[in-house]
Symmetry: none
Subunit: 187 residues, 2 copies
DNA sequence: TTGACTCCCATAGATACCCATGATATTCCA
DNA sequence: TGGAATATCATGGGTATCTATGGGAGTCAA
């Protein structure tokens, strides 16, 4: 008997806001998350086009650009929209308040300190008129990027890799998944 | 993430792909899952018509198109509606944040990495005005598709095969079932 | 002045949108 | 009930638009 693994019943939880973007006047397109991978060129000025599909995810955010920081665990740049950043802050704020720990909320010190750390090492990267960003030297170096960059969608956020590094990482990732499914499932 | 393991549907037993459109009564309007098999042409621009019956399944979704990724276990393209993808994301996002696990949300490490990986290897394939999609070169190659494609309904999702590859796969699938049932069971 | 950065324009190729056609199904009415 | 008018679908092709990319001009600060 062949088995397929499928997600259980799906009902929208309505958390991630649905954003509308007008295309050529006639049809509207709805995009809500970062998916797929794209490889773009880094020009001599250090500019890279953020894939149009990703930009459309951020389409209606007031701040036209992305937040990026070096991954703490891998040679890769993590990135997302300002909305995500605000949401993280808000949730963290609410969590500390709900727990009655006003000191934490006010002084801004928590046990893990991760959110604070990320805030500290993050950069705001605004789009230019053509939807490009300039990767700061610090991030370029961290990811080992030279003249090309691979954009990898991760749903609520995306990553920027050096193509070669990503290739290896991706192969390992898929292999791990395959091993996990070796019990007879298909994916 | 929660998964249910369900048996593969058996609609394919001795099933021959329909070349021409099926008789579509009004009852088919009510179909809510992907069933049956169709073989369509891939034109010079790489476009394929998604069977109308499948499109009607997605009819109520705001985004008009499908999400597709290369199966990691077979030479086939897996596809499903946008709603399922968003739901996967939201569940994962809420789950990690609600549990206060900012590490997972930011660094993106989950237990299995399934959602992460699927997001990265998935492509968003919007319908054109005629209900066609363009199969990306990456997926075409993975499935070994040339000028024709076989759409196979699998309930909550569907697959796109190279016709020849599917024929063999299907024969093996049926044969395995037959062997299993040869003890006297009926189907 | 130099260097870093932003804004603006140009362009080739990819993509989306539009219209057309033949085949088949369905509706509707004499 | 037969058949003409209408609707749906898969398919093909032309064209306008968008995207990624390159480069130049203007601004600002040291």
């Amino acid at each position: 008997m062949i088995f397929h693994i499928v997600p259980n019943t799906l009902e929208g939880l309505g958390f991630v806001p649905v954003r509308r973007r007008k295309k050529t006047g006639k049809s509207e397109r709805l995009v809500t998350s970062f998916i797929s991978t794209y490889e773009n060129k880094v020009d001599r000025k250090g500019r890279v086009s953020v894939p149009a599909a990703y930009r459309s995810v951020l389409g209606t955010e007031s701040y036209q650009g992305v937040i990026a920081y070096p991954s703490i665990t891998h040679s890769v740049i993590e990135a997302f929209g300002r909305g995500m950043l605000d949401d993280l802050n808000q949730r963290k704020f609410n969590q500390t308040l709900d727990g009655g720990d006003f000191t934490q909320a006010l002084i801004g010190r928590s046990d893990d300190g991760l959110v604070e750390t990320v805030m500290a090492i993050s950069s705001e990267l605004p789009f230019d008129g053509e939807g490009r960003i300039i990767l700061p030297a610090r991030l370029i170096k961290h990811a080992g990027i030279t003249d090309r960059a691979t954009f990898v969608g991760r749903g609520t956020r995306f990553q920027v890799w050096a193509p070669g590094v990503y290739e290896k990482h991706q192969a390992a990732e898929v292999e791990a998944l395959r091993a996990k499914l070796s019990g007879g499932g298909t994916l």
